[in-house]
């Protein structure tokens, strides 16, 4: 029974992905004559050489962490989509410490990444507090915090930390002690290992600890949680702070390893990609790894396609949104599911 239900879930996932890719294909059909060439780069691009493969792994890191953050809050049925703002503010925190803290090897890097996580959590504090204290909708408030983070950080960076010697609007370069190492000739971001261990840690927290159980109970049924003596408000509060920490860490890792400056002049979008990663993983932290890899694969594939054929890579956003709709469509394949359950029930009689 359980196995056939799992099979149904998987086939649903496969059908969804196929439909989404088909819609992407139709889009390409309308915008280029050589669809096969475009599709080839889109689907095979990240595997075509070693440099692109590393690019694909690097791309999965920030969305793995934001996806993890969002899967955690979605588990508690909290619609906080402020990961984007936390990531941005976390990046800012990393920059502050990287530029101002004494340059002690190792300590500097650790403090930089901790600052990123701390700033992320601080940013998540506002919607979390407003939710717990006054039941203000975390959806709207976390979104507003995204815009505020963007404007505030841009103001700070461009006015107080701008490197005038650099050609673009970027901050001063981080000192070497605050760099997160990149490996191999193609600069594989070592943050990948941090992200994977964070996934395992959070997965363990969620499925093997009392606190994790509380989160899941609150997500499944708030009233049940309340009557079984769980402090619902506090659980919901800490879940959001933890998620903010993870998102902030993502920002810190991205800057300390890939750019070594504060470079973002617009919201990078990793927080929003995290939503689709979490949904694709069905809010299961362990499944966040393959799900983030899959989304990163599509993204890098679209970028390579864009570089090789001149098409707009935004087609991948369309594909992603179709996937969100179809994966969360509870009624899809519902009839089969019902039949399956009925048949099993009959067998047991």
């Amino acid at each position: 029974m359980k196995r056939s239900l799992a099979f149904l879930e998987i086939s649903r996932m496969v059908i969804t992905i196929l439909i989404a890719l088909l819609i992407g294909y139709i889009f390409l059909l309308f915008s280029t004559k050589d669809v096969n060439e475009a599709l080839k780069w889109f689907l095979y691009g990240p595997l075509s050489n070693q440099r692109r493969f590393v690019e694909f792994l690097n791309n999965s890191i920030p969305i793995m962490l934001t996806g993890l953050a969002l899967s955690l809050v979605f588990q508690a049925e909290v619609f906080n989509i402020g990961a984007e703002g936390c990531l941005f503010f976390g990046g800012f925190g990393a920059m502050l410490v990287a530029l101002k803290f004494p340059q002690i090897p190792w300590v500097h890097l650790i403090v930089t990444l901790s600052a990123a996580a701390l700033f992320g959590a601080a940013w998540a504090f506002v919607p979390a507090f407003l939710k717990v204290r006054w039941k203000a909708s975390e959806l709207v408030s976390s979104l507003m915090m995204n815009y505020i983070a963007y404007l505030l950080v841009l103001f700070m960076v461009n006015n107080y930390f701008r490197d005038k010697a650099a050609g673009a609007l970027v901050s001063y370069r981080f000192p070497q002690t605050a760099w997160l190492a990149t490996l191999t000739r193609y600069r594989l971001n070592s943050g990948f290992f941090i992200a994977v261990s964070a996934v395992i840690l959070i997965g363990f927290l969620l499925y093997f600890t009392k606190y994790g159980y509380q989160i899941r109970v609150v997500g499944a049924n708030k009233k049940f949680g309340f009557y079984s003596g769980i402090n619902v408000g506090l659980t919901v509060f800490w879940v959001q702070l933890l998620a903010g920490m993870l998102a902030g860490l993502a920002g810190g890792i991205e800057l300390a390893a890939m750019y070594r400056r504060f470079v973002w002049q617009s919201l990078p979008g990793y927080g929003f990609d995290g939503i689709i990663v979490a949904i694709l993983a069905r809010n299961n932290p362990f499944l966040v790894i393959p799900s983030a890899l899959f989304i990163a694969y599509l993204r890098v594939g679209a970028n390579i396609m864009s570089r090789m054929t001149g098409l707009a890579p935004e087609v991948v956003i369309v594909i992603q949104s179709v996937m969100i709709l179809l994966i969360t469509a509870e009624a899809l394949l519902d009839r089969f599911k019902k039949k399956l359950i009925e048949r099993e029930a009959m067998k047991n009689e």
Partner: protein, 308 residues
């Protein structure tokens, strides 16, 4: 600073408030008609963006702003239909569906913009067909108010009228009554023979219509080109403004005007050399404050059990 105070007696300042409030007024009506029937339309932002894109592009190709207006509205209503279908038929969570719709609109418009113009920033190269401004002699004659109210974009007048139309629709018509019934207690509505499904579909489509008007105004009135992600959070600000007004169209519209004042004040502060990043923050911070005020009044009226 005295310059700043002078602003409030300057009719041009109040004129600009009406101008920046127009998309918010429409968007608040969009939020209202769906929330009255019990569904939160997170997708307003995406519907607006889609309408802004198609309105501008089709208007430019047809060389007629009104064709553009209709195309823009049609695209937003189509998005609303997609939202309604996935929520009501496929049972997608309404919030997730709305988020997906916004994502879709943001990717789709940039993709199409690039395919049509070869540019990713704006559609300025297409040439544009803005919706004309109306010079009403009767209004022009009034001394102070004339300068505030006259010579606005045609859509601004439609926005002002639609406040009262929506107000009437919700409070006085049988359809509005059914919408409220479905929003407050779907089971009770069903028991007296109201089709919950049909009313929810209808209210979401109506919401799409107003979101479409909001979007079209942005690209064919507020400015005369489409820019990527030009809605810039207005759909969400509208949700907050609507929350402020509860189930009343008039109060919701006042909420929209409050945000309009915040935005217009931001422009004025900018001329006083306060950096644009700080002034642009005003509407978002105001939204947060309003959200808290609204939530506080609501929590007080609830019992302890409902508070969890």
């Amino acid at each position: 600073m005295s310059n700043f105070a002078l602003n409030f007696v300057d009719p041009a300042f109040w004129y600009s408030i009406l101008r920046v409030s127009t998309p918010l007024l429409f968007a608040v009506m969009a939020a209202l008609v769906s929330s009255v029937a019990g569904s939160i339309n997170i997708g307003i932002e995406g519907m607006m963006l889609m309408a802004a894109f198609w309105g501008n592009v089709i208007g430019a190709f047809a060389k007629n702003p009104w064709v553009g207006l209709l195309a823009g509205i049609a695209s937003a209503v189509a998005m609303a239909l997609l939202l309604a279908f996935s929520h009501l038929k496929l049972r997608v969570n309404l919030v997730i569906a709305g988020v997906a719709l916004n994502l879709f609109a943001s990717g789709f418009t940039v993709f199409m913009l690039f395919a049509l113009t070869g540019e990713k920033g704006t559609s300025a190269s297409l040439g544009s067909q803005p919706i004309p401004k109306l010079d009403i002699p009767l209004l022009r004659a009034i001394p102070f108010l004339g300068k505030v109210l006259n010579n606005h974009n045609a859509l601004t007048y439609i926005a002002l009228i639609s406040i009262f139309v929506v107000d009437y629709l919700i409070r006085k018509t049988p359809l509005g009554m059914r919408m409220r019934a479905v929003g407050e207690n779907p089971d009770a509505a069903t028991s007296v023979g109201v089709s919950v499904l049909r009313i929810r579909y209808l209210s979401l489509l109506l919401s799409g219509l107003f979101a479409g008007l909001a979007g079209v105004f942005l690209s064919m009135g507020y400015v005369s080109w489409f820019a990527r992600d030009m809605t810039n959070g207005r759909g969400f600000i509208a949700l907050a403004a609507q929350a402020l007004g509860g189930k009343s169209a008039i109060l919701g519209a006042l909420g929209a005007l409050l945000f309009g004042i915040a935005e217009a004040t931001g422009f004025t502060l900018q001329s006083l050399r306060i950096p644009s990043e700080i002034t642009n923050m005003i509407p978002f911070i105001l939204t947060l404050i309003v959200l808290v005020i609204y939530a506080r009044t609501r929590v007080r009226s609830h019992s302890r059990i409902q508070e969890i």
